[in-house]
């Protein structure tokens, strides 16, 4: 039997996600992190695009979960030294450096750092500001334990010289004799999530970086914006601390550059990163703020990105399609001056208070060394080499990779890959599932039924997020005066590990039987605190949150007094509400260990195979008569991997798999139930019981029409990309005689009717052009484009295409190419902005790079499973950043084009990610079900049946005999429609009864 444990290297968001997915699906995870705390690059960000979520806030719950997870062994200050053995049975040596602070004793009081006399540059803040030699990298660090930096500690350099920390530490946690340890770990597989390093622009003298104080990088600016950063979130410029009013971002610094940085690839995230910073900075600014972004191609190719870009433009972010040669000082005040040319070559000057370099992503030097030690192949850009058709597999079996270490990518893509890597790492160990894990034991739950309420209130500063507006101390004091409140306390970060641990103790010591946390949104943090209650022996439902951040301090930042009053009111309301709450039973649903996958394209087939190979039965439902979906018409990937052989092989695997039941020409007609127990009816009448569902219903090519028709369907020389692919698959000889070919990009994309970027078409079109050029080097090829969006290493393809002499001519919506014909000969007129001239072309072939649209079936399938769709008909994931394959509805997952246009390799990764998430459910015997359910008071019920009619889940039925209604708690979702519909007040929702709501309302009026 293989080992039931997995080594995950890298504690950034990708590593954390992979660790959680693996640990939740039955494996013991050793999570190795080189710094003192997990969180990685994401923790350094202030906000994330395109939702503008506070990065630390959405990340923090995951970190805490990771830190608390029974089956995650967190090894900080550690490096993987060597790896020997085979898949299923590796021996890894992990070298753990000493922390010099005993984590079991450290209470994170911070006295050591306060007293430490040695100041050092704060690398967490990218060298902006100082930290001490005894330090904590950031306030929400997990583990929340201080560490001593041996390179700077006075004592460790010369024992006897200082030791201030040891003197003041109240816990006696300082241990100067701490020694490095080598851990020998036996693991079945390995996931590498090593992340990236931001490119250091010091070598680019023309940027002035390192010489001009007010030239900084985007990562640095992120720290300037962050509330936990060196300026506490007040936007300041380095030279004089003044708030900058005119800020420029320069794109592609250290990316798309073969001259100075030797990074031919596009870093993929910087365009959105810069726009986000411009938008957020505008919000931070007091008064006028003029952001400008200087770019080559605007690459907003992800979900919601193009709309974000459009909004930014409408909201006053200026965009200049120009690269700037040099940044110059404008005066002695620290202001900066840019000279640049507009697209027609006109010379322009602009002055700025600060210039931010959008520096690219590169592989860390240590990664290259590690890859050498582990015998892993790197690609030509030093990223870890992966397989297109298995995008998380490295060259070494049993070692998987995810995140930016394999190619620059954004957070959702990294999270997807993390889940995909977890799938792969777990899949080969499936027989050993649950063999190495421990089971969480909660303390016996206290019966509080007969006790009078003893309420504890914890009020959060959230760093300065709340405390800079609300008088947290006053709220805490006030809370203590409320009836039944026996304890109140304020915390810097209530969600931090130490506060959580302390809360457990407080609940026990104070004998609390109800808890209120006044902090942020229960939508993100309630599960964490509820878990804390359970750890303290309380039922998790005697808990309420007062949202004094998202719905108070953040929205009333200029009215601190009113915000404080409101915080008191909200706390009082929560106390009133919690007072009436009772312990509820934890309902569970027995899991049907099988899956339904909807959609027989590459995404659906990949998900189906991924689950079936772990021995879970799968029904694969495809509405057409054949498997394969859009891949049936794809010629090759941009890395020249032929799609048809892979597709044929995949179809054969699916058809031959004993655990996959393929249903062709079949659709879903009905679905009900919930995670663990769905019931789905197919159009062939079949009824399926299944625990999870994966929706991969795909997308379709837009059929050109109107302004974007370009004689498509009227002139036989006009084709779409897929049609050309089909001809290439069929080895057509037609192109041999083609003298001139023209491609038009963005046909139907990025226009008001279809505002999204279809993501794949630039790469697809360019690859096709390259193929044509290779087949017929004499062919002239013109690409008429708006922005070239060959993100990541696809940029190499763009470069190759240019090198082959393919000519790129930009157009914009004011100059859409005009296509006409004269006796069958196509005539295209377009405008070249560089030489400001009209160009006439007479191609023998016109290829339209058409948009990708969602399938109409997506929305109907979504409705069956109560999942949301976005404004354009794409399926809407639970969270754009951190839950990219989950729906808000538990137990249903998504993958592929139904989510957003994406290339094959990303569909495969997402399908594997969906399978990984589904595996978590399928690996359990039972899953938690809704505990907050409706209940009937038989004495009040008259049996009128209104409740039965309004229940969307068939959870309410009539007891025909007694003529009263009955609620089936297994089916009830706790929406309360029946409660509101009942005239007789016979129904109530547990803990959200009319009395609790009324108590909250009454408490709103002091």
């Amino acid at each position: 039997m293989p080992k039931g444990s997995v080594l995950v290297v890298g504690g950034g968001i990708a590593g954390v996600q992979a660790a959680l997915d693996l640990a939740d699906s039955g494996f013991l995870v050793h999570l190795v992190e080189k710094t003192t705390a997990i969180g990685g690059r994401m923790s350094q960000l202030d906000k994330t695009f395109p939702t503008n979520d506070c990065s630390a806030c959405i990340l923090s719950p995951k970190l805490v979960e990771c830190g608390r997870h029974l089956n995650i062994n967190l090894l900080t200050l550690s490096d993987l030294v060597s790896l020997e053995g085979e898949p299923g049975n590796f021996k890894a040596v992990v070298h753990q450096r000493p922390r010099y602070v005993d984590p079991t004793k450290c209470i994170a009081c911070g006295l050591c750092a306060e007293k430490c006399p040695k100041k050092v540059d704060n690398e967490y803040n990218l060298g902006i500001g100082k930290r001490k030699a005894a330090y904590l990298s950031f306030p929400q660090a997990v583990p929340l334990k201080y560490a001593i930096d041996p390179d700077n500690c006075i004592w460790l350099k010369k024992p006897g010289r200082c030791g201030a920390c040891a003197k003041v530490c109240p816990a006696g946690a300082i241990n100067f004799d701490d020694k490095a340890v080598d851990h020998e770990l036996e693991v079945g597989s390995v996931v590498l999530a090593l992340g990236f390093s931001p490119y250091d622009p010091s070598e680019l003298d023309f940027t002035g970086y390192g010489r001009l104080a007010n030239v900084i990088t985007t990562m640095e600016f992120e720290r300037y914006l962050s509330p936990s950063g060196p300026c506490m979130g007040h936007m300041e410029r380095p030279s004089d601390g003044k708030e900058p009013k005119r800020v420029a971002w320069l794109q592609c610094v250290g990316s798309r550059d073969i001259n100075r940085s030797c990074h031919p690839y596009c870093s993929s995230v910087c365009c959105m990163f810069a726009i986000k910073q411009a938008v957020i900075a505008k919000e931070h600014a007091h008064g006028e703020f003029a952001p400008s972004i200087f770019f080559m191609d605007m690459r907003t190719h992800g979900k919601g990105f193009e709309e974000y870009y459009n909004r930014a433009r409408e909201n006053g972010v200026s965009f200049h399609r120009a690269r700037v040669h040099s940044i110059l000082p404008a005066d002695d005040e620290g202001n900066l001056r840019l000279r640049y040319v507009n697209e027609q070559g006109g010379i322009e000057f602009a002055e700025f208070d600060m210039v931010i370099l959008s520096t690219g992503l590169e592989v860390d030097k240590n990664t290259i060394k590690l890859a050498e030690r582990l015998n892993l192949e790197l690609d030509e850009d030093n990223f870890i080499k992966t397989d297109v058709f298995n995008p998380v597999a490295t060259s070494r079996p049993g070692v998987f990779v995810c995140g930016a270490v394999a190619e620059p990518k954004d957070i959702p893509q990294s999270v997807m890959e993390a889940s995909a890597a977890a799938l792969e790492a777990g899949s080969i160990l499936a027989p050993a599932r649950w063999s190495a894990t421990a089971v969480k034991e909660y303390p016996l739950e206290r019966d509080i039924h007969a006790e009078p309420p003893r309420i504890g209130v914890f009020v959060c500063h959230c760093g300065i997020n709340i405390a800079s507006v609300v008088d947290v101390k006053a709220v805490t004091e006030y809370a203590r005066t409320l009836p039944d409140v026996v304890f109140s306390q304020d915390n810097l970060f209530t969600c931090s590990q130490d506060t959580i641990d302390q809360m457990v103790n407080t609940i026990k010591e104070q004998n609390l039987n109800r808890v209120v946390v006044s902090s942020c949104s229960p939508r993100t943090h309630e599960p964490l605190f509820q878990e804390t209650l359970r750890d303290a022996g309380l039922n998790k439902y005697v808990f309420e949150m007062a949202n004094i951040r998202d719905q108070d301090s953040w929205v009333h930042k200029n009215e601190p007094e009113a915000a404080t009053v409101k915080a008191m009111d909200l706390t009082r309301m929560a106390v009133a509400r919690v007072r009436g709450e009772e312990a509820l039973p934890y309902h569970t649903v027995k899991v049907d260990k099988s899956a339904v996958v909807i959609g027989g394209g590459i995404g659906g087939m990949t998900a189906a195979l991924s689950l079936a190979e772990q021995n879970f039965p799968v029904t694969l439902v495809e509405k057409s008569a054949q498997l394969g979906g859009n891949a049936n018409n794809l010629f090759r990937t941009w890395q020249d991997d032929k799609v048809q052989p892979y597709l044929a092989e995949t179809i054969a695997k699916v058809n031959n798999h004993p655990r996959i039941d393929v249903q062709l020409s079949c659709e879903i007609t009905e679905a009900g139930g919930s995670v663990g127990k769905f019931t789905t009816t197919l159009s062939n009448g079949q009824n399926l019981q299944h625990g999870v569902a994966v929706v991969a219903v795909g997308g379709k090519a837009y059929s050109p029409e109107g302004d974007w028709q370009f004689l498509y369907g009227q002139n036989d020389k006009v084709h779409t990309l897929l049609e050309i692919d089909r001809m290439l698959i069929d080895e057509s000889e037609d192109f041999k005689a083609t003298g001139q070919a023209v491609f038009i990009h963005c046909v139907g994309s990025r226009i008001p009717e279809r505002p999204w970027c279809s993501r794949v078409c630039c790469t697809h079109a360019i690859d096709q052009a390259v193929k044509l050029k290779e087949m017929n080097p004499d062919m002239d090829i013109f690409m008429l484009y708006r922005d070239i969006r060959t993100y990541g290493q696809r940029e190499r393809l763009y470069q190759k295409a240019r090198a082959l002499g393919i000519i790129f001519v930009r157009y914009d919506l004011d100059h859409i190419p005009a296509v006409s014909e004269d006796s069958g000969q196509l005539i295209i007129k377009t405008h070249d902005p560089i030489v400001d001239a009209e160009i006439t072309l007479q191609p023998d072939l016109l290829v339209l790079a058409t948009a990708i649209e969602p399938q109409a079936t997506g929305s109907s399938v979504a409705k069956f499973f109560k999942c949301a769709i976005d404004a354009h008909g794409f399926l809407l994931e639970a969270h754009m950043k951190l839950r990219p394959v989950d729906f808000a509805t538990d137990g249903v997952y998504l993958a592929g084009l139904c989510h957003y246009p994406k290339p094959l390799e990303e569909t495969i990764a997402q399908a594997k990610a969906a399978a990984a998430r589904a595996t978590i459910v399928l690996s359990l015997d039972e899953v938690p079900a809704e505990s907050i359910t409706a209940q009937v008071d038989p004495a009040k019920c008259v049996g009128c049946g209104v409740c039965v009619e309004v229940c969307a889940y068939n959870a309410v039925s009539m007891d025909e005999d007694k003529n009263i209604s009955l609620v089936n708690a297994d089916l009830c979702k706790g929406c309360g429609a029946c409660v509101a519909g009942c005239r007789s007040d016979a129904l109530t929702l547990q803990n959200i009864g009319n009395e609790q709501i009324m108590a909250a309302v009454e408490a709103a009026f002091d």
């Binding site: 003298d205 023309f206 040099s326 110059l328 000082p329």
Partner: protein, 166 residues
């Protein structure tokens, strides 16, 4: 410099010598104490700026020679009397007289080109602009005269001799 270095390289011309810049040698000799200079002569605090010849700096020896150049000037005229330009060293602007422009005619074009250099030097407020290149010297002097600059355009050697301690 560039003509010789690049010419030797591009045409693969056999040779037994190495090519060095006099600027590097000045700096080396000053550092070694073989060339003794003292800025004490600059009692009036004459301000100096500099032109980095493209052929010497960007195209041949890069920032090290530009740093040498500054080291020599500072040693000769006093650290505090040197005002650097921006951009500078390898990223400095061409004076506009190179590449044969001085010989080619097109005087207006040449001066339009040189206007960038003029503005840059004018901004320093320097009394003297060191141009350790004959092309640069001619062009910088021309644009100074043409656009109404007040500085004196000179080679470096004269100032070294002025500061020379024997």
């Amino acid at each position: 410099m560039y003509a010789t270095l690049e010419g030797l390289r591009r045409f693969d011309i056999p040779h037994k010598f190495e090519v060095v810049s006099i600027i590097s040698l000045y700096a080396q000799w000053i550092r070694e104490g073989r060339l003794k200079v003292d800025p004490a002569w600059n009692t009036e605090g004459l301000k100096f700026s500099v032109q980095d010849p493209c052929k010497l700096v960007r195209q041949s020896l890069g920032d090290p020679v530009a740093d040498d150049l500054r080291f020599v000037i500072k040693s000769v005229v006093g650290e505090e009397n040197f005002i650097d330009v921006w951009p500078n060293k390898s990223n400095n602007y061409c004076c506009g007289g190179g590449g044969g422009a001085l010989q080619a005619g097109f005087v207006d074009n040449r001066r339009q080109h040189g206007k960038t250099k003029f503005d840059q030097l004018q901004d320093t407020g320097a009394d003297v602009v060191i141009t350790p290149c004959h092309n640069c010297h001619t062009q910088v002097k021309d644009i100074c005269d043409h656009f109404g600059g007040k500085w004196q355009t000179t080679h470096l050697w004269g100032w070294i001799v002025k500061a020379l301690q024997r």
